[in-house]
């Protein structure tokens, strides 16, 4: 009984959030958007203060995940003709996948990666080169984009392992700067002008054709959104399984106390490498999809500033919580696009948000939950 009520409450929350997102994305006037932002913030503050979410009957996480997926799918269908809004949703999903990669690195293993946009770019450029020069199926191209990012990550994993904390972070910054310079001077990769990409094709499915299924017709972005939702669901399950396993404990132990971890046989280098590589893989896959969807890539898209944005999403959402990553990605991607006054001051807004969150809620919007390995069998 309480389970059914919990599921009902979760469905209601998902529906309300989808409705809010729809209204927000469709709203044109700046006043209306301002009111919506205030409403959203107020709703968040009230929900936190009253702990209303904790008081709802618990639902299995699978149920809330299914509702979240349905809510995003419903949102996409409701927006099916609006190219710009759909593009925003797609960018949010891409950023969530990319940030889940960073989340494995920073949230679990404690490896701070300031080259997120670079590994995202490795995926994009790999996809560009492969789909221009070869006839490889595009699904494979996406995976190779991820694999390439993971492989290039192993180039800097050695210096990252030999240093700790800030110094390891500095090495990733150095790599980010190097990567961009490399792209700009490399004529084979288009130099500063970048490269053009074709649409994604999977068998007969052409992603840049408008969707027409019976009476239903929608923008070509619906294709990309469908693919992104599938990829996100896979990435999400992957990340959660990783956390709820012995490996999740290993990564936490490495992050929290390397000396104690080593004294109990944990191979620090191995687990940092595993987290770094898996994270870069997700970043690379997200970058490859993004490159195909936008149809054009250039070094400017993969600047150090973009890497900082990715890290700030993690801080804002709550390091270690995938739901926080999703929420923060939506805020960081959509807000500056809709509020025109902010567009010029995009980076200022992010900086202010990070400072505010670090002062008032250092754990992030949705802090990490305790791991419960007991009773794993019924839930997976």
């Amino acid at each position: 009984m309480s389970r059914a009520r919990g599921a009902l409450a979760a469905a209601a929350i998902a529906a309300a959030l989808a409705l809010y997102a729809w209204t927000f994305l469709r709203a044109e006037s700046q006043q209306a958007l301002g009111v919506l932002v205030v409403l959203g913030v107020a709703g968040g503050v009230v929900a936190t203060r009253t702990r209303v979410l904790d008081r709802l009957p618990a639902v299995p996480e699978r149920v809330s995940q299914a509702f979240a997926l349905l809510a995003v799918a419903a949102l996409c269908l409701a927006l099916r003709q609006d190219d710009f809004e759909l593009l925003l949703v797609a960018r949010v999903l891409i950023v969530v996948i990319a940030c889940l990669g960073l989340h494995i690195q920073l949230g679990y293993a404690g490896v701070l990666n300031f080259a997120g946009a670079s590994f995202f770019g490795v995926g994009g450029y790999t996809a560009a080169v492969l789909s221009r020069a070869t006839g490889l199926p595009h699904l494979i191209v996406l995976l190779v984009g991820g694999a390439m990012a993971a492989a290039i990550g192993t180039l800097i994993v050695v210096p990252v392992l030999r240093t700790r904390g800030h110094y390891a972070a500095l090495i990733t910054i150095a790599f980010a700067l190097l990567f961009r310079t490399f792209l700009e001077v490399n004529d084979a990769l288009g130099g500063p002008q970048g490269l053009k990409l074709r649409e994604i094709r999977i068998g007969p499915w052409r992603f840049n054709d408008p969707v027409e299924v019976g009476p239903f017709d929608g923008s070509f972005y619906v294709n990309y959104l469908a693919l992104l939702l599938i990829l996100l669901a896979i990435a999400w399950i992957f990340v959660q399984r990783l956390e709820r396993s012995w490996i999740g404990i290993d990564l936490d132990a490495v992050r929290l106390d390397e000396t104690a971890a080593a004294a109990f046989g944990l191979d620090i280098a191995r687990w940092k490498t595993v987290a770094f590589t898996l994270g870069n893989f997700l970043l690379g896959v997200a970058g490859a999809v993004s490159a195909h969807m936008v149809g054009f890539i250039a070094p400017n898209n993969y600047s150090f500033g973009e890497s900082l944005v990715l890290v700030s999403i993690l801080l804002l959402g709550g390091v270690g919580n995938p739901w926080g990553v999703a929420l923060a990605s939506a805020i960081i991607v959509v807000l500056p696009e809709k509020l025109q006054v902010l567009q010029e001051y995009r980076f200022l807004l992010f900086a202010a948000m990070v400072v505010l969150i670090l002062i008032f809620r250092p754990v992030g919007l949705l802090p990490r939950q305790m791991r419960r390995l007991e009773g794993l069998r019924g839930r997976t």
Binding site: I249, A262, A263, F264, G265, M370, R377
Partner: protein, 258 residues
């Protein structure tokens, strides 16, 4: 005469110009409880760090269970059957009691990616086994603690954190347990309770060998078979507690008596 479990020969550790451990000789038989005492900075914890490979010895030899472990890394030392606690608690505070114990249980768990990500049923079974094991071990110490397995360590009191730390070291069934000042930061009465627990564990695991660093002399007197006294990195006395407590050198260096 039982076999030597641990033999240290002329073990020395320097930090720059400082000789933290100076030609330490130590031989320990299986099943014994050895007390390691001495003033602050006399090299007790350094000795543990050298044994466990955190700071490799500058010179000298360490042999454990018939195997040379002098230059092994901490991970390899752990796998030979040596587990330890730390002077300042090094539990992972945000993690649950269970998670912390499983860090100590590392070598008995399957850490392969495929097993953890794909074979979730087998993983769940391993979790259940490990959980039963953890509960049984915690019960030896403290019945109520066993029912709080899912609580974050940050929420349990100091004495329970010590118990968890000792359990984390014991759960891998080591042959040699190194306890670095388990009574640190606890009241006299808490210390007594913890020692009761330890004696109980020792009775159940008769073959377990323990080296105990301790400042609380009543503890040393109560649970050790033999003591080694260090001063400025050198061993200055060895014997039963009664013997070393009467030693004039020890009284001067450590007990602060004439």
């Amino acid at each position: 005469m039982t076999a030597q479990l641990l033999s240290c020969t002329k073990v020395t550790r320097r930090f720059g110009g400082v000789v933290a451990l100076d030609g330490m000789d130590l031989h320990l038989e299986e099943g014994r409880v050895l007390g390691l005492i001495g003033p602050n900075g006399s090299g007790k914890t350094t000795f543990f760090n050298v044994l466990t490979g955190i700071f490799p010895a500058t010179s000298g030899e360490v042999e454990f269970a018939g195997k040379r472990i002098t230059d092994l890394r901490p991970q390899e030392v752990y796998r030979t059957g040596i587990a330890r606690t730390f002077q300042r608690s090094r539990l992972c505070l945000p993690l649950s009691i269970f998670d912390n114990l499983m860090i100590g249980n590392h070598q008995r768990l399957d850490h392969r990616l495929w097993f953890n990500l794909v074979r979730r049923g087998a993983l769940a079974r391993q979790v259940e086994e490990a959980r039963a094991d953890a509960i049984e071990l915690l019960r030896t110490f403290d019945e109520p603690l066993a029912s709080r397995l899912g609580d974050p360590v940050a929420r349990v009191p100091m004495i329970d954190r010590r118990r968890i730390e000792i359990c984390r070291a014991l759960i891998s069934r080591p042959q040699l347990l190194l306890l670095d000042e388990p009574s640190a930061g606890m009241t006299h009465e808490e210390t007594q309770r913890l020692m009761d627990d330890l004696l109980l564990v020792k009775r159940r695991m008769a073959r377990l060998t323990i080296i105990l660093i301790e400042h609380e002399m009543s503890v040393i007197e109560r649970i050790t078979d033999r003591c080694v006294v260090l001063n400025y990195g050198r061993k200055i006395a060895e014997g039963t507690y009664g013997e070393v407590a009467r030693d004039p050198l020890v009284r001067q260096a450590y007990l602060g008596l004439e």
